[in-house]
């Protein structure tokens, strides 16, 4: 196979796999916005906590797998009181929630900095070796991460469309007053959805921990990216977020063959800005 094609395929695959993780994180963001009108600027920090806790939990058990199950649950459960006692009064006022969660983001980052220090940590690949995929050699773990990511997205879809809880969530998203008046406990739905969204971000963090460096500011890179994905996909549209994440990171992967990383980022953002200018409600909004 010619080197150019090989390279492009590799970068594209890498991009798409990162896109699946971004999609996972963005879906949480989109859910939280859709249900509560919270523009959650601390979402990237929930992802960061997921990654940091992975370091801790992997340290306890000596293996990676338990972290994948425990960490999202811990973060999800811890997020529920956050929504109930800190963010509830601001819900439905997106701009206010944005500032409040920026405050929250400062608090989380500094607490993590105090507890874990500022030096980036590296989680070794829990699954070693490369796999041969359409003629390209690719790290097994990244494929595993993508598969788990897809599985979680599939579960989320199933939960939203095939379970009672999912119907309640979608009803509350659509019309909270009406949902209230037909006996759905929307307070419970809000808390549950916030926990679910936070759990998704944390799951993204766990899966990304062996791929990226783990440190207290790692969420800031992800938050803007997830926002772009959510907005370009169309606010509140879960399919839109998924498709936008995949397109974005696929194109990003391909572009990185020709440009240096910063230029790639700039080009991607320019593309996103153009999409917003010409489709002001996003691709699927």
């Amino acid at each position: 196979m010619p080197d150019v094609v090989y390279n492009l395929l590799f970068l594209f695959t890498d991009g798409v796999i990162w896109g699946i993780l971004i999609a996972l994180i963005s879906l949480g963001l989109s859910l939280i916005f859709g249900i509560m009108g919270i523009i959650n600027m601390a979402h990237g920090d929930l992802y960061m906590i997921g990654a940091v806790l992975t370091v801790v939990v992997t340290g306890w058990f000596g293996i990676f797998l338990p972290a994948l199950i425990i960490v999202p649950i811990i973060v999800g459960v811890l997020a529920i009181p956050l929504e109930r006692w800190v963010l509830r009064p601001f819900e439905g006022k997106p701009l206010i929630t944005m500032v409040a969660t920026i405050g929250l983001s400062f608090i989380i980052q500094q607490c993590v900095l105090m507890a874990f220090g500022g030096t980036p940590k590296i989680v070794p690949y829990p699954i070693h070796g490369n796999i041969n995929l359409f003629g390209i050699s690719y790290p097994r773990y990244r494929l595993f991460a993508a598969a788990v990511g897809l599985l979680l997205i599939g579960l989320l879809w199933f939960a939203l469309h095939r379970t009672d809880f999912g119907i309640y969530i979608r009803a509350t998203m659509e019309n909270p007053e009406m949902a209230d008046s037909i006996g759905i406990n929307t307070n419970f739905i809000r808390a549950g959805t916030f926990g679910l969204g936070a759990g998704l971000a944390a799951a993204g963090g766990v899966l990304a921990a062996p791929i990226n460096q783990v440190f207290f500011l790692m969420g800031t890179d992800v938050i803007l990216l997830s926002f772009i994905v959510v907005i370009v996909g169309g606010l509140g549209s879960l399919q839109g977020a998924l498709i936008a994440a995949l397109i974005l990171s696929g194109v990003e992967g391909l572009l990185s063959a020709a440009l240096d990383p910063v230029q790639v980022k700039a080009a991607i953002m320019f593309l996103m800005a153009l999409i917003l200018v010409f489709r002001p409600r996003g691709l699927f909004g």
Binding site: I39, V86, P89, F90, P94, L95, I96, M98, V99, A100, I102, G103, L104, S105, F106, I107, Q109, Q110, C111, L113, M114, T220, L224, F227, I228, I231, L235, D260, V262, Q263, K265, A266, M269, F270, M272, A273, L276, V277, P280, R281, G282
Partner: protein
């Protein structure tokens, strides 16, 4: 007597601004608080130790940034999250010319302001059209692109490390001073900040500033008052961009370097935080927010490295218990004491007691010609004005409107004659309001044409159609509920002015405008409540206010969407009088559900059902029409 009748155009009474349509009234209003703070700051300049002085200087620079953002978000309601772009551009456009071209301080400052203007116009043309959360993200993305590029273009920008600069001495008239001499620099920066404050303080009270507030309160309504909302928002965006560039330039000079980090996201978040701490929409609020933030950052960070934890808590606590910031909190406490008085003032006196001024007397026939002498006199006086000839003023041809799969209007042909009082009736979902929305440009039809005086207006924007003489009211009273009655009406009257966006005049001070505003309020029986907040009025009064706002545009055609809906039954007859009075001078289209009212006031009736006209004619014909009885009155054919 003539003066009480606003429908009557008299050239001498047209709103007209003073010199060249720009200057009028006193330019600045001095506030004792402002003067006091200025005095304290001037005296402080002589006594305060150098360390604290440099802190104050940073505050002056920040407050320009903060006030600029307040105009953008607090007044013009655009939540931009990309102001770092202009801050960085300001910084580089003063540093680069001095460094590379040897430009003087003032030349470079002018360049910085020019660069800020150009950048703000370019970004604004893209970003202003996009609203709400999309605006937030779009501006954030644009700023991030520039940040990434600036970081990458090290030869030009010096990257994150930045470009150091040593500003040569600055000439100010015959004087020469160094920008690094704290004593001089302090006063120069204080002067910059204070001048920006004075200019903005005046600006937000000018007609331009009031229109920003109107857009903030109710953008849709503003566009139906002939204002081209886009340009007003763009003006605020550009102004904010320019001032942000100015503060970026001053900041770079003060810190002796400019870095790609000036484009970083945190510089976009900061003005937001300042505004939240101090209170948006007050100008002085964000400045107080700057002071609080800077002191906090300086003192607490020296004491504890993780001070951001406390800062985060402070933000959340402020949002929870003082969401309008420090200044908003103080204002609220102050008005709490005066509120009972205001309410007494607002207390309803006999509504419609000025209705006689309308000259609406008893009705002679269903043709609804009221017989007051006053009106007769007006009409005689006005006989030269074309108005009663039977010309079509408004026509629609085969209007089809589809929402998704639903057809709201299905080939509607309407022909309204000049001076007609036409009622449009039909069951719920018949397409009545959609028809109004199509005529006024709020909804674009899938096919068909709307003609106004024979001119095709189908593709016109709402404000353009409004300028063509079509005013409307809404099914649910659509007013600026946070503004006073007077301000509501003023917005309409001002939109007719030669320069409705005047940044120099002081809003509401022009005698012709004030006169017209009061006349309209008096006519609608709202004169007693002229200072009350529109939202505090009764439902019936809100409807009257909305009609007053529509009339203030001096339209030829008035579209009233269910003016009696939700109005106290006792007030309905008065509302009908108002409608009849208006119909004396204007072409009126009225949607109403109340059959008795419609038969009473309308000259002609159009009946819509399922998006089609099923009957049209004088009331007696409509009553007799079998299909109308079937569809609308619920009488079965059997």
């Amino acid at each position: 007597m003539m003066g009480t009748f606003p429908f009557h155009k008299k050239e001498g009474q047209r709103a007209r601004h003073g010199l060249f349509g720009l200057v009028s009234g006193s330019v600045f209003r001095w506030n004792p608080w402002t003067l006091g703070i200025l005095g304290v700051l001037i005296i402080a300049g002589f006594f305060v130790p150098v360390g604290f002085k440099s802190l104050l200087m940073i505050m002056f620079i920040y407050s320009i940034f903060a006030m600029a953002y307040d105009v953008l978000l607090g007044y013009a309601n655009q939540p931009s999250l990309g102001q770092s772009l202009f801050f960085g551009i300001g910084a580089y456009s003063i540093v680069l010319p001095v460094l590379r071209l040897g430009a003087s301080f003032w030349d470079a400052l002018v360049l910085a302001i020019a660069a800020g203007t150009i950048a703000a116009v370019l970004v604004g043309l893209l970003a202003v059209r996009v609203t709400e959360a999309y605006h937030v993200i779009l501006t954030a993305i644009i700023a991030s692109v520039v940040y990434l590029l600036a970081k990458n273009m090290t030869p030009l920008t010096g990257g994150s490390g930045g470009l150091p600069i040593d500003m040569p001495p600055v000439a100010l008239g015959p004087l020469k001073f160094s920008v690094y001499d704290p004593a001089t620099c302090y006063f120069i920066l204080l002067a910059f900040a204070f001048i920006v404050y004075l200019v903005l303080e005046h600006l937000v009270h000018s007609p331009l500033g009031r229109v920003w507030v109107a857009i903030r309160e109710n953008e849709v309504r503003t566009s139906f008052l002939r204002y081209n909302v886009f340009y007003y928002k763009l003006a605020a965006f550009v102004l904010a961009g320019v001032l942000t560039a100015l503060s970026g330039a001053l900041y770079a000079v003060r810190l002796r370097y400019s870095s790609a980090e000036f484009f970083a996201f945190n510089w976009s978040v900061l003005p937001f935080v300042w505004g939240i701490l101090g209170g948006f929409g007050t100008l002085i609020g964000p400045t107080a927010g700057v002071a609080l933030f800077t002191l906090f950052q300086f003192y607490v960070s020296a004491w504890w490295t993780h001070y951001l934890i406390l800062f985060g808590c402070l933000i959340i606590v402020m949002l929870r218990w003082a969401p309008k910031g420090i200044v908003g909190y103080i204002n609220e406490r102050k008005t709490q004491h005066t509120k009972p008085d205001q309410e007494r003032h607002v207390f309803r006196k006999g509504a419609f007691k000025h209705l006689d001024l309308m000259g609406a007397g008893p009705i002679r026939s269903h043709n609804g010609i009221a017989g007051s002498e006053k009106i007769v006199a007006e009409r005689k006086h006005n006989s030269g004005v074309p108005g009663r000839e039977q010309q079509p003023i408004l026509e629609t041809f085969d209007i089809v409107v589809k929402f998704g799969g639903m057809t709201a209007l299905d080939g509607v042909n309407l022909r309204v004659l000049t001076g007609e009082l036409r009622a449009i009736i039909g069951p719920n979902g018949a397409g009545k309001t959609t028809l109004f929305n199509t005529i006024t440009g709020a909804v674009k039809p899938s096919s068909g044409r709307v003609l106004l005086r024979g001119k095709n207006i189908t593709d016109f924007q709402p404000h353009e159609i409004c300028r063509g003489g079509v005013a409307r009211t809404f099914q649910i009273p659509n007013i600026f509920s946070e503004l006073s009655v007077k301000e509501n009406v003023w917005l309409g009257v001002n939109s007719k002015a030669k320069v409705p966006w005047s940044p120099i005049a002081r809003a509401g001070q022009l005698s012709t405008i004030s006169y017209e505003v009061e006349r309209l309020c008096e006519m609608m029986g709202l004169i007693d409540k002229i200072h009350a907040t529109a939202g505090s009025l009764s439902h019936g009064d809100q409807r009257l206010l909305e009609i007053a706002v529509a009339l203030s545009l001096d339209p030829d055609i008035l579209l009233l969407d269910e003016p009696t809906q939700g109005v106290d039954p006792r007030e309905v007859e008065n509302m009908n009088k108002v409608v009849r009075g208006i119909a004396e001078r204007k072409t009126v289209l009225v949607i109403d559900h109340n059959m008795a009212t419609v038969l009473d006031i309308a000259q002609t009736i159009t009946v819509l059902d399922h998006g089609r006209i099923i009957a049209e004619g004088v009331p007696s014909d409509i009553i007799a029409d079998k299909r109308v009885q079937e569809v609308y009155l619920g009488i079965s054919r059997d």
